[in-house]
Amino acid sequence: MLDTELSIQSGMPAPFHAYQLDDAYDEMFSSAGRPRDHYKRLFRRLMELTPEELEERQQAADLSFLHQGITFTVYSDTRGTERIFPYDLLPRIISAAEWDTVERGLIQRITALNLFLHDIYHDAQILRDKVVPFDLVYSSKHYRREMRGLDVPHGIYITVVGTDLIRLPDGQFAVLEDNLRVPSGASYMLANRAVMKRVFPGLFRNYGIRPLDFYGQALLTTMRYLAPPASGDPSIVLLSPGVFNSAYFEHTFLARQMGIPLVEGRDLIVHDARVFMRTTSGLRPVNVIYRRIDDDFIDPLVFRKDSMLGVPGLFSAYRKGNVTLANAAGTGVADDKAIYAYVPAIIRYYLGEDAILPNIDTFLCSDSVQCSYVLDNLDSLVVKAVGESGGYGMLVGPHSTAEQREEFRRQIQANPRNFIAQPTINLSRAPCFLEGQVEARHVDLRPYILYGERVTIVPGGLTRVALRRGSLVVNSSQGGGSKDTWVLHE
């Protein structure tokens, strides 16, 4: 009944009047007025609710984030004002079949990247076989010479990964970025779900949504697996840069979910190549550190000397195998945006398989032919600095000014190794509740992958939304928000 009812409607019903459908893949609609199967119930529900009811729930959700202190502070006068991270009320839904492909693709990719890291820090066979150019690896600013020949527990380098996926216009998921260092956002995924269940319980009924709650425990199990063999019942801590870090909420949230202490560099000391934390009952050993601090800052004796966040001597304890760092040091070389272009080849080299999740076409400015193509097409390409993340160091050609393009041209010519370019991809759009109606906005997806005794992927992940109309940038530093993400049981 529902199908015929919907299919006879030619245009879009009331709350969708401003909904934009064009070349971009739409998560909800296959064509105007025709929702995809897994969105039908949400669609029907949206038709029943008045804008006032939706607005009320949006406000309840916002208030809940405010009261939980999931906020950042803006200083407009002497008193700081707390602002919440923008949150959209409407869930993004992924069918079981789609998720199956994503899951297999991610496991494949993570497995290969982990083998790649082990290889380049040991025999570097892949470089000798000229599958990946050796100068690309050794010139990466995240390559850590200090990691050569070091064996990490179970050969696992990338314990926690947050891969950024987008949908191509044909609906296929593709990998935009591998985040292998200190990916963040898992707490927002969990908080979004908790708030959503509170303010919109009716929507969940009978929808068959896969749960996320086990993330904290899975993270703990993964970390325990990585403990140095001699540590018995391991003592695990989360190392945070401290309360001024923008991800501090996430650190406290995850530490609580895992039931482990959150420590700062000043809580730890290294003595005789062993790590201890300063407690009320004296010094207690530490075996595994889930560190949320970049390589550069973990040990001022080895990396940046001016770091106040790290622990002097930590790396020597790590080298001796007395403490595990997760993620391992030096993983950033494998999410370098220039190495990214070689990931399909890396997968083929180690696993003998084709990549399940495709890459986005990538032009390497380190290659002179590709570089001149990039320089000729700055107005249509997206240019990215290879070692950056978070939407920084990026030029979106079609939305750029001539001045910005000139600035990038200068930078690319000065240091071509530092840049790559990709065609501007029209990210898929999903329905969002904005100013009283439902509008389409561009989204991406960051699933979280845990690599321990086995690979665990949380169903879904963090869907980030470019809330500004027409914008393709989903980063929270650039006006992006997020929404709950549902993966269906079937």
Partner: protein
């Protein structure tokens, strides 16, 4: 199983608790003051204002700058430069709570966060033109709610005891402080006057109310408000939660529990200091105290409390690393 606690966490829990207790105290004192002044002569009101500033901001504060209750309300509630203003206390409590967010439960955090947001969202003009009592009362209620959540929900582990230490060290210091400042001025005035003077009576009641003690006092002494009874009650009563004696008992109980939880040596200085102060209050007699000078007795209490605070830090928080490595 997970019995150890970071020293930094202990430090934050302790100060979170102290700052909340202080915010509660300041709110109650202003509230009492604003309900008393309408019935006071100008000069008495000015003196009272100055005493409040001495107690709640510090003895050295230039009181000339504060020549109205409007100024006083600003100074004690919102002034960013006064580290003991309610706003600063609540912000500091929240900042400490934020640093140990994974250690306190969600309800505690949300309660403290809501208190912070409500103080931040209040302006001086709105408060002054409206109903100040409602605002100050709501701060007291929020703090009680926080303490209620804490008492009913968290395990009696080390964290709990550091929260208790913060609360009761702060509370007894405040009660001792109030007694000290008020008695210095009011007692001599009362001796000069005939006891029973209506203005003085008002002041004594204000003193009791400011220490959250008026109703509890009346149950013990009826409405017979006498200086020596007030001292006996606020200083030596072992059953009243805002008395100095009660506070020190709680401090000692938590120190004992912490000693057991952390295997601290029984002869440690921190236990001796707490035992000594407790004995002084256990055996104190109000007549003797008043004969030999209340001021010096209160000074001794304040000094010993400060020493206990320092000893807690030396034992659990700022200990030298080398001592522990050798062990």
């Amino acid at each position: 199983m997970n019995s150890s606690m970071l020293s930094r966490v202990a430090d934050s829990l302790y100060w979170m608790s102290r700052y909340l207790e202080r915010a509660d105290h300041v709110a109650r004192q202003i509230d009492v003051h604003l309900t008393l002044v309408p019935e006071q002569a100008t000069e008495a009101a000015r003196k009272r204002r100055n005493r409040l500033i001495a107690c709640l901001v510090g003895e050295g504060y230039p009181v000339e700058a504060v020549d109205s209750d409007y100024d006083l309300v600003h100074l004690l509630t919102f002034d960013e430069d006064n580290s003991n203003s309610i706003m600063r206390c609540v912000a500091s409590a929240r900042e400490n709570a934020r640093q140990v967010r994974e250690q306190i439960n969600t309800q505690m955090w949300e309660q403290i966060n809501q208190l912070y947001l409500s103080v931040q969202g209040t302006s001086l003009e709105w408060l002054w033109q409206g109903q100040p009592h409602r605002f100050y009362h709501s701060i007291n209620q929020d703090v009680y709610r926080f303490q209620g959540i804490t008492d009913s929900r968290i395990s009696r582990d080390q964290g709990w005891h550091f929260v208790q230490l913060g609360r009761y060290i702060e509370r007894s210091a405040e009660t001792a402080d109030t007694l000290n400042v008020d008695f210095r001025e009011l007692y001599s005035a009362a001796l000069a006057d005939d006891a029973g003077d209506q203005q003085t009576y008002l002041e004594w009641v204000g003193l009791l109310r400011g220490a959250a003690a008026y109703e509890a006092y009346s149950k013990v002494y009826m409405a017979n408000v006498q200086p020596r009874f007030i001292i006996e009650f606020l200083l030596l009563n072992p059953e009243f939660p805002y008395s100095v004696h009660f506070g020190i008992n709680m401090v000692q109980a938590s120190l004992d529990a912490l000693g057991a939880l952390t295997d601290t040596h029984k002869s440690s200085r921190v236990f001796r200091l707490a035992g000594r102060l407790r004995a002084m209050l256990d055996f104190g007699q109000v007549d003797e105290i008043m004969d030999s000078g209340l001021g010096s007795y209160l000074l001794a209490i304040q000094n010993q409390s400060a020493q206990i605070h320092e000893a807690i830090y030396q034992t659990y928080i700022n200990y030298p690393i080398d001592d522990k490595l050798a062990a």
